[in-house]
């Protein structure tokens, strides 16, 4: 179906189902129960899952396939956000023109940066992209203030032209009348499910771009990109110039980032320069590596994982911990809370850093590789594979009898 193999089709269907059912799946605990704080089914967070998922999928097309580690992808995120808010200011709150502009602008921007940066590889490429992103960030803060509104951030004011705006159109971001921040709530016996328009808008776009990235992964183009990662010199020797391929990958991933940035501004009509800072670029690197670079599902998992912990983990404080361990003797309880204290609440970045290091050290393939290893050891597939190999490859025989 849709040019995918049978296995991929069922995978895509599973992803579609999971994405669409997210508001239900992420709300496993009834309202008011002690575990309700682990529920992630509120619109703001779900939107972030989808948006950063798109960002990470795009980054993965560059880093996962070609191995070029860009430390400047946040620049495209920022460009996307600014484009969308400008379209709000000039036309109306409909997000479609803004998103189209976001993709075009970030694509052009990526073409420019990629054309220059891709002349070098390895660490130099990382530094070049980092330098470009920092340059855009600094400029957005200072000289480009008329375009970006500097530190205040770009937002819509009442005296903006908004030429397509009439009395009937909504005064917040909408998709042909479907207002993004509206949601319907359903209460099923204590479970409160929120179905948010904005989330579904992002989710559908995320599914489409996921499908696109799947096609890229399976296409000859994707195989070419992987060949570049494996051995660029050999590519050169076979008479292929890798530059156009890497540039194409860079531009595609830049457009993904621009789209993600545009969606961020579609959910909340604001754009600030801090979205372009290199810490934001670092975040997408973390997401991709944590989930598993070069795999289809990994970056989305990583994005979801980080955003979930950013929102949920950081809310746990000492009182909550005391609540959990209240069954233990007092001294032990205090000791455990004291032990966990640096890692929770505001300290969740420490947990993230440690986790990231552990993943890089022990699981270079990320969470996906961890999952596969566990799955294989449960089903015993590794052993089977080894036996297979034994059967298919006859033992080397002596040349002279």
């Amino acid at each position: 179906m849709l040019g995918l193999s049978k296995k991929d089709t069922s995978f895509l269907i599973a992803v579609i189902f999971l994405t669409l059912a997210t508001p239900i799946l992420l709300q496993p605990f009834p309202e008011g129960s002690a575990l309700a704080q682990f529920n992630a089914g509120y619109p703001d967070l779900m939107q972030r899952f989808a948006i950063y998922g798109i960002f990470a999928i795009g980054f993965n097309i560059l880093f996962g396939l070609t191995g070029y580690l860009s430390f400047g992808h946040a620049a495209f995120l920022g460009v996307g956000s600014y484009s969308v808010v400008w379209m709000y200011k000039l036309l109306s709150y409909n997000v479609v023109p803004g998103l189209i502009l976001a993709i075009i602008m970030s694509g052009l921007f990526a073409l420019l940066i990629g054309y220059i940066s891709l002349r070098r590889s390895g660490i130099y490429f990382s530094i070049l992209t980092l330098a470009f992103a920092q340059m855009s960030f600094n400029l957005a803060y200072s000289v480009l203030t008329p375009l970006t509104n500097g530190e205040t951030g770009l937002q819509v004011y009442t005296d903006d032209p908004q030429v397509l705006m009439d009395a009937a159109s909504p005064s917040s971001p909408h998709f042909f009348g479907i207002v993004m921040n509206e949601s319907s709530k359903i209460d099923v016996g204590g479970w409160l499910f929120t179905f948010n328009n904005g989330y579904y808008f992002c989710a559908i776009i995320a599914i489409v771009v996921f499908y696109l990235s799947m096609r890229i992964f399976r296409s000859p183009f994707g195989i070419m990109l992987r060949a570049i990662k494996t051995n660029q010199t050999r590519m050169n020797y076979t008479g292929l110039n890798p530059r156009p391929y890497t540039l194409a990958a860079f531009v595609i991933s830049g457009m993904y980032a621009g789209l993600a940035g545009g969606l961020l501004a579609s959910m909340d009509p604001l754009a600030g320069a801090e979205r372009m800072q290199w810490t934001a670029s670092g975040e997408v690197v973390l997401m991709t590596i944590l989930g598993g670079a070069g795999t289809l599902m990994g970056p989305i998992l990583g994005a979801g994982f980080i955003k979930y912990f950013e929102n949920i983990f950081s809310k746990i404080n000492d009182t909550v911990l005391h609540g959990w361990f209240s069954a233990l003797p007092d001294g032990l309880e205090d000791a455990i809370v004291f032990l966990f204290h640096p890692f929770i609440g505001k300290g969740w970045h420490l947990t993230l850093g440690l986790l990231f290091m552990l993943v890089v050290i022990f699981l270079p393939g990320g969470l996906i590789e961890g999952g596969t290893r566990i799955w294989n050891s449960v089903t015993g597939r590794n052993r089977k594979k080894k036996q297979d190999q034994g059967d298919h490859h006859p033992k080397p025989a002596a040349h002279v009898n």
Binding site: R120, I123, L128, L130, P342
Partner: protein, 343 residues
């Protein structure tokens, strides 16, 4: 002319910091071949050594002073640092005032140890892994160090003043024949520049004139052969890592009065130092120092009002712009060796 001299002087202190960090980065890259993204964190740790020293020296106990009364009529509680009660008022206060320079003594062993533990515990396992993995793991380590510091010292910058002796400014213009108050340069920045010049010369002299340094240089040129000659080169490289960490730490200690230490200062400097290293040429020590000062001075020139009115925003991007131009036109940097990381 006086404006130019002033800008050169202004560039020197920031340039010194860049040069010291870049020197450490290059030492690590040249010896171990590792791209260390945690080097900024080491600089930050150095700054916090100064903060720690200040805190240790001002450790106090509280006594009730019956001769003084607070506004309610109760005996006034007075904090007295232990140092003051041990060494008397003047010596104790002087010691506290000199906490930043004293922190150097404290920072050297601490940073050597941190560097040693880092290399043996973590970096050692990454020699055979790709550069991307090294960048990622040290990036993670930088986050961890940063968060630990944030946990213990809080998120706000902590002012660490220089000794009173260096509080004022030197009227440099008078010395070379200009009118008064044309070229003013704070004493501490001068101290910082001289200090970094001393450290840089010490590192170069160490590599140049000691047997240990000779072996290390030989190892940088051809690690395998040195190993085959029966020299334990790994051990020496580990020590070099410790020294590189100590250099970054010292740069941080002395920088504390210029810029109050906060937990993310390392990251801010790291990005720029990497640019410096790349401009100077990967693996070239003189290149790193030269590029550090060059970019520091360029940055201060770009922030002159005359230049800014000519090209708006140039002060924000000059370093990156120079880096991009150099990387594209001269792939191995200003003084890089042929064939080292030239892809």
């Amino acid at each position: 002319m006086d404006a130019i001299i002033l800008q050169i002087l202004n560039g020197l202190d920031k340039g010194s910091a860049y040069a010291l960090i870049a020197l450490g980065l290059t030492l690590i890259f040249g010896t171990l071949g590792v791209v260390n993204f945690a080097h900024g964190a080491l600089f930050m740790l150095g700054s916090f050594c100064a903060v720690t020293m200040q805190r240790i020296l001002t450790l106090s106990y509280t006594i009730e002073d019956p001769t003084q009364k607070d506004f309610l009529g109760n005996p006034l509680k007075v904090d007295t640092p232990y140092l003051v009660s041990w060494f008397g008022e003047s010596t104790g206060q002087a010691l506290i005032e000199w906490s930043v320079p004293l922190a150097i003594l404290f920072a050297i062993p601490v940073m050597l140890l941190v560097g040693y533990v880092m290399e043996r515990g973590l970096i050692k396992h990454f020699y055979k892994r790709p550069h991307a993995d090294q960048i990622l793991v040290t990036f993670g380590l930088a986050i961890v160090i940063q968060e630990i510091i944030k946990y213990f010292y809080g998120a706000n910058p902590i002012p660490t003043p220089a000794p009173d002796m260096f509080k004022g400014s030197l009227d440099f213009g008078v010395l070379i024949g200009y009118a008064q108050n044309t070229i003013i340069y704070p004493y501490w920045r001068l101290v910082y520049f001289l200090f970094s010049a001393v450290i840089i010369s010490a590192v170069f002299a160490f590599l140049r004139f000691t047997t240990f340094g000779m072996v290390v240089r030989a190892g940088m040129a051809d690690r395998e052969t040195v190993g085959l000659l029966g020299i334990n080169i790994d051990k020496r490289f580990t020590i070099m890592f410790g020294i590189a960490a100590a250099v970054a730490g010292l740069a941080g200690v002395m920088y504390a009065p210029i810029n109050s230490p906060n937990y993310h200062m390392g990251m801010d400097f790291l990005v720029l130092s990497f640019v410096v290293v790349v401009v100077g040429g990967m693996g070239s020590l003189p290149g790193a120092v030269l590029a550090g000062f060059l970019l520091g001075i360029l940055e201060s020139f770009a922030s002159m009002n005359e230049v800014k009115s000519l090209i708006p925003g140039i002060d924000q991007i000059i370093i990156y712009l120079v880096a991009i131009i150099i990387l594209l036109t001269r792939p191995r940097g200003l003084m890089g060796r042929r064939g080292v990381m030239e892809e």
